[in-house]
Symmetry: C2
């Protein structure tokens, strides 16, 4: 999913993060080593140690880089079509015809997020990550209320609920063998938003 973001790295640090992302998609977090990052990095692997202390340090920098890019792409932008924007965000996650590439990305995120169960630095990242997505959705919903296309609701509460449901969707997608439940959840989420948000 982040291929495009990493396709044209700017400077050595971004080149290292791009190599880290490639190595993560290939080996997963468990199989990741600085040496394997070095194998997909075009300059001297010793440069990696010059910039980062260890594997987790560079993985966290890679996660922060992706989150920063998302945040920069949405913060301060005017929300012109709130309903389309909310629907597109939800569809990205509940679309049952997701590509193999997207499934791998979601699995990788699950593996990385689970580090946060016992590692404070990962916990800080995913705390910030959830807040960024909540604030983004809150802004979209507030814009819809102001423009009169959404009902008077509690934007922050709806945003927290959508972020939580989508976290559950991604967790289930990456840790179970079936997705018969996915269409049902997509429809119920649509019921909820129709009742609570859409006019």
């Amino acid at each position: 999913m982040a291929e495009k973001l990493f396709s044209d790295p700017d400077g050595t640090e971004e080149e290292i993060l791009a190599a880290t992302y490639r190595a993560l998609t290939e080996h997963g977090y468990t199989g990741l080593t600085i040496q394997r990052i070095g194998e997909t990095f075009e300059k001297s692997p010793s440069l990696i140690y010059h910039h980062y202390d260890d594997k987790d340090d560079v993985v966290l920098a890679c996660l922060a880089f992706m989150l920063d890019a998302f945040e920069e792409s949405v913060v301060g932008k005017e929300v012109e079509r709130p309903r389309e924007e909310l629907e597109r965000f939800v569809a990205w996650v509940t679309d049952a015809t997701a590509s193999a590439e997207q499934e791998e990305f979601v699995s990788l995120l699950t593996e990385l997020r689970s580090q946060a169960a016992h590692d404070a630095a990962y916990r800080r990242h995913f705390t910030r990550s959830d807040r960024v997505f909540e604030r983004y959705l809150e802004t979209v919903i507030e814009a819809g209320v102001e423009q009169g296309v959404f009902r008077e609701c509690e934007p922050a509460a709806v945003a927290a609920t959508v972020v939580t449901l989508l976290a559950g969707v991604m967790l289930r997608q990456s840790t179970t063998d079936d997705d018969v439940w996915l269409a049902d959840v997509g429809e119920e989420l649509d019921h909820y938003l129709t009742q609570r948000v859409y006019r």
Copy 2:
């Protein structure tokens, strides 16, 4: 959370599973070894190898034992008070005043579930686990519809949505530093159930 279940093990295998559960709560999945299970097991540690191939074999048996116990406690039982039962299930997860013990249990489940992102045996377990909880909630909701205390709705779809949202709640609880979102999510879930299920 499973302390009570493991408080009176019946036979060697259950004693091993009880020791595994204790070792898991103490060391987490990453820190777990057969030797550490042996340290909390009252008989000869070599018995563990007699019954189980490796660490994952005994962890999966422990998970299956807990899920079996839940399933046996609900399957075939008549649902006398559907609303109370649904509310109690939801409250267990969205209760912000959860004990430290419950928080540790949820963290442990997150760590174990994340194994399913790259291990088919864990994926099989959590596929079954989600289905057991979905079927349980479906039965409760169907009973409420039949008794006329719930609206005509789609019990399977509502059950899938509640299980998914609660998976998201548990994931966020165990991988972030704050829970300011939790009360909002609890209230929105109540809105959704009031609209869709409760009369």
